[in-house]
Symmetry: C2
Amino acid sequence: MATRTRTDTDRAARLFHALSDGTRLSILERLRFGERCVCDLTDALDAAQSRLSFHLKVLKDAGLVTDRRDGRWMYYTMNSETLSEVGDLIEGLASTPSAAERKKGCC
Amino acid sequence: MATRTRTDTDRAARLFHALSDGTRLSILERLRFGERCVCDLTDALDAAQSRLSFHLKVLKDAGLVTDRRDGRWMYYTMNSETLSEVGDLIEGLASTPSAAERKKGCC
DNA sequence: TTGACAAATCAAGAACTGTTGATATTATGA
DNA sequence: TCATAATATCAACAGTTCTTGATTTGTCAA
């Protein structure tokens, strides 16, 4: 139940890592306004194309964005489910342990 | 306002980076149960002392924990204010842009 | 004082991450 | 089919982060 397994922690670390870069945060900031193609982001962020591709892959591997091809264009969208998963992780960390958890004597 | 400045993004990246490591997440997981000295954590996590010190410093520099000396012991406590700051960042990223934001044409 | 313990800091190396420019892939339209 | 556009992938390098063991600092008690 509230037990944090190795894998949970790894998953959490991976999610936070995906969010731990300025370029990636700027990408997400833009995706709040809706789907964007790589070309839009390249322009907006004034970043080399391969750099954007790299960061989009990190975000995608973490599940924070999804992509969709339309012709030659790839469109990226924020995955808000994963974002709320991150929110839950934070809440979990901030929450006072339940009586049951406390009885188990921590992790 | 809702404008995301360079510094905001940097701060956010720094916070997420502090959370992006398994050892550090395990430390925080334990601090949920209250103040702990380094020795407790060293035992619980079976980690070298210098390693713990290193990660505690990262957490402290990010403002996620605070420390307090008591005799020879250093006690670390989770800083829940910073944790809710992180929560706000996530909410901000997940939120639909306001009409005003949308009018400004994104970031 | 001195000895011993808790924790921080340091130096060196290993591992990982991000950047860049070049090349490969996929799709389109002539 | 060919040229071209959009994107992904790759290889090399630079920079950063993490780990380890050794040393240092601060505190206490004998």
